[in-house]
Amino acid sequence: MKKSFASTRLSLATLIAWLMLTPPASAQVDLTGTWARVGQSDNGYSREPVDLLGMPLSADGRAKAVSYDIAALSVTERQCQMYPPVYALVGPFPLQISMEPDPVTQRLLAVKIAGWGDRAETMIWMDGRPHPSKYAPHSHSGFTTGAWEGDTLTAVTTHFKMGDIKRHRGFSSDRATMTYRFYRHGDMLTVTGILEDPVYLAEPYVLTEIFRLTTNPNSFPLTACEPIEELPHLHEHPEIVPHYLPGKHPAMNEVTQRYNIPLEAVLGGPETMYPEYRRKLKDTYTPPPPQPPGRGGGAQ
């Protein structure tokens, strides 16, 4: 018993000595845990189907957005389609982050963001592996590599499939790149996402979202999706591809009618992100009538 105690002290002293001798390595913060979305911006919220406010869409991106009919997601083969990487910022779920060590060396192999219902998991490879050839197959989650810059984790995703980037409003193509920056400040995690797309965006689309570390995530478990008969007429007529012809979207003017915001702004474009655009609206915009009591004043 006495010998065992001495042995423990020896092991402890050896560990302390070894730690003292270990040279400094790159600084990192621990991102593991479940991070609940704060959701106080309008990232995941929009009442009107045609609301492209502040989205730097190209002409092609705008045409794609206003031809989209959300019923397309009810087609049997698309019901279980996952969203693209930007969904991590605009979706309704928490981020469940874990570290995946190499089983042999214990070096950090990847940072994993768990999947959720309609979002595939993201493996942020930290071992220096290169991105695949541009001809490599694309997936819904894409291929992601990461690196620490001080206490900030930077990750870059390529090779992801086309998908809608803001709750069925606007799309990213399969040539897009997503760069994330993860900033941890205490129990707060701010993620900045920079989406670049030569097809559907004229300038980078940059979003932020704030998450809080939680021990009581109350999140829905990941469940396997199973197609069902959502819209009978699509089931009966599988040849139908839901869409709207140019200029025919029935909700095109909803934002203008409700908030007095000109259609030109509603349809997005890079110029609408800059302060100058505000001055452009100054002489024509009038605030809408007062909202009825009880609207707003809560989380989105």
Binding site: L10, P23, P293
Partner: protein
Amino acid sequence: MTRVACVVLVAAFALGARVHGQQRAGGAPQPPRSPRAAAPIDLTGYWVSIVTQDWRWRMVTPGKGDYQGIQMTPEARKIADSWDPAKDEAAGEQCRSYGAPALMSVPGRLHITWQDDNTLKVEMDTGMQTRLLQFGSPQPSSNASRSWQGISVAQWQTPRPTVPLLLRPAARSSETAPVRPTGGSLRVVTTNLRAGYLRKNGVPYSENAVLTEYWDLSKLADGDQWLTITTQVDDPQYLRGPRLVAPLFKKEPNNARWDPTPCSARW
């Protein structure tokens, strides 16, 4: 016991050698560097707001009663429901929506410079406001005069200098060069505020609100620089929980688009 003492002695000697080596490499102990000299990131220059979020509440003045996304107390709602820009103008309070808790979300441009070695000056062209972020200042006394921009105490936050990576063979070698972490962020806490609006249409914050911010930089491969300001407003009087947003800015090469405009209660 002898072996334990021996191991600890070796460790102490090794640590002493390291400290000695660091002192020898850097020469005589240096006086602490000023916040300006010690800045881990360079925030100076011109920055433009990029409004990709909350466009409907930032780029135009929302209608009365549109409080979507803000967790207000009933008292706050009552005040917001009585919002009257004409009254604010008559009282000379056109700048109520340009106070520090709201300013970084107002579309405009920032010009950030060092006023002196301890003070970052942040000017905003929209509303012609100036924030002074003071390093190392004591908390303001309760009788200090209140203002739209309040008193801001700043502090650099830098990565920890060492994080041992256990079981990493390369790290065990005594010849491995130390990795010096780079980067960091700026933490700013602002108090002594004059009561104002979080949103242009009269959503209030009280003079007891506390604003906590983290300023972080991203430098992309193409040279673009982005500034993310994680913003937390705590105001138990008017908010049911912390207000958390993270406005974005992109760096500009010069002041070509700098356009000072006065506060407006209506626009």
